[in-house]
């Protein structure tokens, strides 16, 4: 299996498909890179080198004890980009992966990157605090933590059946297949890794990273469903698009969080469009 090894010994699994300018896809919690497989295949089949990795503690990467935080995730991503010597990269982050790529840009700069796409992403800052009053109450995340500790498998099933793909909304009928894939991928993550990742995606403040991206002038596209019950659009996509100068916002009407599956083809073509049009 192709991996890069980080300085603390974690092996980061990645898939490297196609030829052309690179697109790197960062996945969401508690999934792994297979959650990008539709978009990765589409991009690779259309002239791009599409790379997707499993975050540490997720999928086929090492279940480390330490390092389940955004800074380490971003450093791991930096190791991957350095090891493959990728340049002119379009970084695409879904949900937690959106935090990972944004923190990468904040910590490691924009030299290797020519574009950024945030999909249902957690930046700028999910948690409700005194200076983030529009955020999500901590009780919501504590409930996910409590569920994970009590019965992780059932918690993932409930997420997949309900808010993640919008199955709890009238007219939304995510297939059994995509819900099963969520559950299967979720259980491949490490217990501690997935548990600590909840804090990483919910309690990391990405606002300084977004300001750095904005100052650097990275071409940015933000895609978000306006019925996202995991990262509400006003907390996530709309706020990021407002904070990054010149960012474009594409809203999928009525769409849930998991648009990599529920709106797979539309998302694929929107990503391809961005990759084709963003200047190198």
């Amino acid at each position: 299996m192709p991996t890069v090894t980080t300085p603390d010994g974690a092996e980061i699994f990645y898939k490297d498909w196609g030829e052309g300018r690179p697109v790197v896809l960062a996945h969401g919690w508690p999934l792994h890179s297979d959650s990008w497989q539709v978009q990765q295949l589409f991009l690779a089949a259309n002239g791009f080198r599409a790379i997707a990795h499993d975050r540490r503690g997720h999928g086929r990467s090492t279940q480390t004890w330490h390092g389940n935080d955004m800074d380490t995730y971003a450093d791991d991503l930096a190791h991957l980009l350095d090891a493959l010597d990728l340049r002119d990269v379009v970084l695409v982050g879904f949900s937690t992966g959106g935090g990972e790529v944004v923190r990468y840009l904040g910590r490691h700069g924009t030299d290797r990157v020519r574009g950024l796409v945030l999909v249902s992403a957690v930046p700028p800052f999910m948690l409700r605090t005194d200076d983030n009053p529009g955020g999500v109450p901590i009780e919501v995340f504590d409930e996910i933590r409590r569920g994970s500790l009590a019965d992780r498998s059932q918690t993932y099933r409930d997420l997949a059946d309900g808010p993640f793909f919008g199955g709890n909304r009238p007219g939304q009928e995510p297939s059994q297949g995509i819900r099963d894939a969520f559950w299967l991928q979720g259980l491949q993550s490490g217990h501690r890794n997935a548990l600590e990742c909840i804090a990483a995606f919910s309690a990391t403040d990405f606002r300084p990273d977004l300001d750095a991206i904005s100052a650097a002038g990275v071409a940015t596209l933000v895609i978000h469903g306006d019925d996202d019950q995991v990262v509400p659009i006003d907390v996530g996509g709309r706020a990021s698009a407002e904070r990054i100068a010149g960012a474009a916002l594409t809203v999928y009407p009525g769409a849930p969080h998991g648009i990599t599956d529920t709106h797979a083809r539309r998302l694929s073509t929107d990503l391809l469009s961005f990759c084709l049009e963003v200047p190198s």
């Binding site: 052309g20 300018r21 295949l41 589409f42 089949a45 259309n46 002239g47 791009f48 083809r265 539309r266 073509t269 391809l272 469009s273 084709l276």
Partner: protein, 275 residues
């Protein structure tokens, strides 16, 4: 007579038989009989197809191949079949049916199984791919899109003139099905050919600067015939774009195509005319 005396020219997508007008004159001056059949329903002029593109949207590949096969079968001897772009795909399908004495495909669109997609091709096809609704519509290029996809070695002004004289919409369904997604579907699709079968000799002509059907696509398509006992060759023109059959210097392409075809054509066996 041992060599074919007839050339059948098969036009590509976004085009009509009008796109062959220079070649018809050129080949007729060499003493050939030249037919440039339209896709079924495309017999009207460019302007009429722009007016009512529904006939384009409704077209299917099998109906088109059947139509062209009927035209060719009605001839008294197998002709040289030449196709440009998707006309190249159609030419390969016609040769696979045993038709033609020789084939030449220029900047050919791929047959099923050719999986090379350079980014310039994706960029060229993207106006059709970006909106899933185009799957059931006729899809036209804007002048700017046409300039990138077809006429990238021309000035914007010359490209615009070509667009105005020749360009029509294309069936979105074809671009979706035979562009990207055919390779992801199981079983044989409408553009499948048996790459190991015998057929008439076939020349692929690629153009170095072709954005929409780059040389890599044509080279890959040609290599797929490695197991066929039939002759397959590849020739590449430096500096030429997809508009190679009409862009300045097109005569060299036309002459290369015809010379190769007549040199390598299968000996004619005229169909007996029954009394």
């Amino acid at each position: 007579m041992s060599t074919p005396d007839t050339v059948v020219l098969v036009h590509g997508l976004w085009m009509t038989p009008r796109s062959w007008e220079h070649w018809v004159t050129h080949y007729e001056a060499k003493g050939m009989r030249v037919l440039a059949p339209a896709y079924p329903g495309f017999e009207v002029e460019v302007e009429a197809l722009r007016e009512d593109p529904q006939v384009i949207a409704d077209l299917t590949v099998p109906a088109t191949v059947d139509h062209l096969a009927a035209v060719i079968s009605a001839l008294d001897a197998p002709p040289v079949i030449m196709g440009h772009s998707f006309g190249g795909t159609l030419t390969q399908l016609l040769l696979a049916r045993g038709l033609g004495a020789a084939g030449v495909v220029i900047d050919s669109a791929p047959t099923e199984g050719v999986r090379v997609t350079p980014v310039s091709q994706a960029r060229s096809l993207f106006p059709a791919l970006k909106n899933p609704a185009t799957r059931h519509r006729a899809v036209a290029f804007t002048p700017e899109e046409f300039h990138y996809a077809f006429t990238n070695t021309l000035s914007a002004e010359d490209s615009r003139a070509a667009w105005e004289r020749y360009a029509i919409a294309a069936p979105g369904y074809w671009i979706w099905e035979y562009g990207l997604f055919a390779n992801f579907k199981p079983g044989h699709q409408d553009t499948w050919v048996d790459y190991s079968a015998d057929r008439a000799p076939l020349l692929f002509i690629g153009g170095e600067k072709d954005h929409i059907m780059p040389p890599a696509v044509n080279r890959s398509n040609a290599k797929h015939y490695a197991k066929s006992p039939a002759l397959t060759e590849y020739h590449e023109f430096a500096g030429r774009d997809h508009w190679t059959c009409a862009a300045p210097g097109w005569e060299a392409v036309a002459d290369t195509a015809l010379d190769w075809a007549l040199e390598h054509a299968k000996p004619l066996q005229r169909t007996a005319v029954e009394g």
